[in-house]
């Protein structure tokens, strides 16, 4: 079901997709306005780093920093708009069984994981750049991530308390897509949360719930 517009569209519905992301890997996919993007943590305790660029102009990208300012909230909450660096809503968090996500921390890279004692683990940045490259894309900017299923608590004195990976098997979020985009999702170690799972993530791009 596309968005409920006054003028019904005669165009065919956009293609749907069902994908999985193995631990230590990233995938690239597209989603269009009106579709529903669902990310599921299949086995639990597996954070998911999400990136996106608009299809029309890859210099416009999903920005956790502009998202915080747009809603004046350090925390990603149900109903919030995830906006681009040009302050246009690209996704809206519409369903959320996990309730704990992060808009403040950087993506991991091989070096930060080695420094955290995770020698040999694949960094999120390396995984995403490889996947985006395999897709034949060369975005002009590598943004910071929106990290789903993350335990980063904020105290009123500014302290960031990073806990154990919080999600349970089957936890999922669903976002309505508002701008056609190229998305990347990584299932890599963050290097900051304790007890991270090594299971896969599922991605569903659908026209119906």
């Amino acid at each position: 079901m596309p968005l409920l517009m006054k003028e019904a569209s005669l165009a065919a519905l956009p293609p749907e997709a069902a994908l999985t992301v193995s631990y230590g890997e990233a995938i690239v996919f597209s989603a269009t306005r009106g579709q529903l993007l669902t990310v599921t943590d299949l086995q639990g305790r597996r954070p998911a780093c999400l990136f996106a660029w608009t299809s029309a102009d890859p210099a416009e990208f999903l920005s956790p920093h502009h998202t915080r300012v747009f809603s004046n909230s350090y925390l990603l909450k149900l109903g919030m708009r995830l906006v681009t660096n040009r302050r246009r809503p690209m996704l809206v968090l519409g369903r959320d069984s996990a309730g704990r996500h992060d808009l403040l921390m950087p993506a991991s890279d091989d070096a930060s994981l080695a420094a955290a004692g995770l020698e040999g683990e694949r960094g999120c940045i390396e995984a995403v750049r490889a996947a985006v490259g395999r897709a034949g894309l060369t975005p002009p900017k590598w943004p910071d991530p929106v990290t789903l299923f993350a335990a980063v608590e904020l105290e009123t004195d500014g302290r960031l308390i990073v806990g154990a990976a919080p999600s349970r098997a089957g936890d999922h979020v669903t976002c309505r897509v508002l701008i056609d985009g190229i998305f990347a999702l990584a299932a890599c170690a963050t290097g900051i949360m304790a007890d991270e799972g090594r299971g896969p993530l599922a991605v569903r791009v659908a026209n119906n719930l």
């Binding site: 915080r68 040009r86 070096a111 009123t156 302290r159």
Partner: protein, 204 residues
Amino acid sequence: MIFVDMIVPGGFGRGFSAAAAQFIAIVDLHGRQAGDFAAVRRDDHGEKLSPPHTRRHLRSLFFKLGDNLMSSYGRPMFRVVRDDVGGAHDATVPACDPTRYSVDFGVCGHRNCLENLHEGLAPLGIGILDVPDPFNFFQNGPVTADGRMQLADPKSDPGAMLVLEALMDVECALSPCPQDIIPGNGLAVTDMRVLVTDAPPARE
């Protein structure tokens, strides 16, 4: 020895260099003025001063005296050696840009920190998309109990100073923020001063 001593006009931006072991003083000349600050490593502009990497390192939104500010490669880039406002700085708000004014306030054509910082860094060949996310020195944003930023004016008195020791050779830009619509600069945008020296500036 003084390597740089310049006034950056309120609402405009300027670039400057500092070598490792030199000291950068940012002076809020008239008080209550935030200054967006961005930096890249001189030898590799891909290594940028990074608020998210600094947060990950410090496990805090805010830095304290003696803390290191980190690069996007996860390495110490600056050390905080003097702070007259006791850590009341922001490193979470992206630089105000054309859409900050056009989307949020309905004002087109307003001066903004992103383009100001870019003006300071463009002579190095840095494009506007590669302008690093800033540290907003003296911008005061206490955290509320429900996880929001409280809108507030800076705590800085006239002459308030933040001094950083550069830990690598850097190229920097400062933009005394042109925000004159909401709290942040006391609704009056004023000049700041930048000093780069080989010893920390003496207290006055």
